[in-house]
């Protein structure tokens, strides 16, 4: 399909989103990522049954933490799409980049650079 998506999205592959833990999302924020998102399979379609549902709850946990710290929880998000939806993958990447741009640089990174 040769679809393009913003080059400032760094993709980290995992065998299943169930592998994504709270600490992975937090570390990305801690290291200054403006936004982090998890792209999992459609709900109910997980090869390991509940991997994407676990990831969803972990994303919610991190959103809550960010809220408590006064950081926009929208910087972390969970998306669900099937492996066959290339165009949707590119669309999500553009959507999150747009969201990050609208929110501005991460307050964690800004202070770090200062």
């Amino acid at each position: 399909m040769r679809l393009s998506y913003p080059s400032n999205v760094k993709v980290i592959q995992v065998p299943c989103t169930g592998r994504v833990d709270i600490i992975h999302l937090l570390k990305a924020v801690e290291d200054g990522a403006d936004a982090v998102y998890v792209a999992g399979c459609m709900e109910g379609e997980c090869h390991f049954l509940v991997g994407n549902l676990k990831a969803k709850k972990r994303v919610q946990y991190v959103k809550k933490v960010l809220q408590e710290l006064g950081i926009e929880p929208e910087r972390v998000e969970m998306f669900n799409l099937s492996a066959g939806e290339g165009p949707r993958f590119a669309e999500i990447a553009r959507e999150m980049v747009e969201r990050a741009k609208a929110l501005g640089p991460s307050p964690v990174k800004m202070k770090k650079a200062a």
């Binding site: 709270i22 600490i23 937090l26 570390k27 924020v29 801690e30 933490v65 408590e68 710290l69 006064g70 950081i71 307050p107 964690v108 202070k111 770090k112 200062a114």
Partner: protein, 222 residues
């Protein structure tokens, strides 16, 4: 096990506001089992504190360590060379941890990272429930395996009270009336008569009413 909840982040950040370098010390005992103070939770809290302080523009150095238990002097002794290197140490153990650490290292400040809530068990992964109040004189055998001291909101020994409705306690529809459950089970097993038996008053001196408690096994003391 001892059950605890992590303190609100605001409270923890307030504790370390004057610090530049802290150690988060986890415990591999009960708090690991109830997912509040083991190696994993230590890592998560460390990252959260670092994010918060980076946001403020005052980075905090947070080191992580988890020991077998914080309720035994031999394990507390293992961090002897480390605790002095920090502005403060955050203990992720139950309330015993910060106290044993403070007693062993009186020159260091130890902050509790968790609120210790109860003795209980896991109903399922992620849900823990109180089962024991540590009253010092166990009466569970009189109540068919259910403890009214820990599980009745009023800790009454002659329930159910007037607040019991449809098997729930008046404090919340989420809370089962343990006395309803005790009576139901007694009826099922044909042992309802047990509840009419006269018993001496419970001696509350073995509970907190008698002051701080200590258990001694003479054969083990050296």
């Amino acid at each position: 096990m001892i059950i605890a909840d992590r303190k609100p982040l605001g409270e923890l950040l307030e504790m370390v506001k004057d610090c530049n370098k802290v150690l988060i010390l986890g415990c591999k005992g009960c708090v690991t089992v109830c997912n509040v103070g083991g190696t994993k939770e230590v890592g998560v809290l460390a990252s959260i504190l670092k994010i918060a302080r980076k946001k403020e523009g005052r980075p905090l150095q947070v080191d992580e360590k988890t020991i077998e238990r914080q309720c035994d002097p031999e394990y507390i002794a293992l961090v002897k060379d480390q605790v002095g290197q920090y502005d403060a140490v955050i203990s992720m153990a139950c309330g015993v941890g910060p106290q044993f650490l403070s007693e062993a290292y009186p020159d260091q400040r130890f902050f509790p990272a968790v609120n210790t809530t109860s003795f209980g068990g896991a109903l399922q992964h992620g849900i823990w429930s109180e089962r024991c109040a540590g009253c010092g004189t166990c009466l569970i055998h009189h109540f068919d395996g259910m403890c009214p001291i820990a599980r009745c909101s009023k800790s009454i020994l002659h329930g159910p009270c007037g607040g019991s409705a449809k098997g729930k306690c008046e404090i919340s529809k989420e809370v089962d009336c343990i006395w309803d459950m005790i009576v139901q089970k007694k009826m099922e097993k044909g042992r309802l008569e047990d509840l009419t038996k006269m018993k001496p008053n419970k001696d509350w001196r073995t509970a907190r009413d008698g002051g701080p408690r200590k258990s001694v096994r003479e054969d083990l003391v050296q």
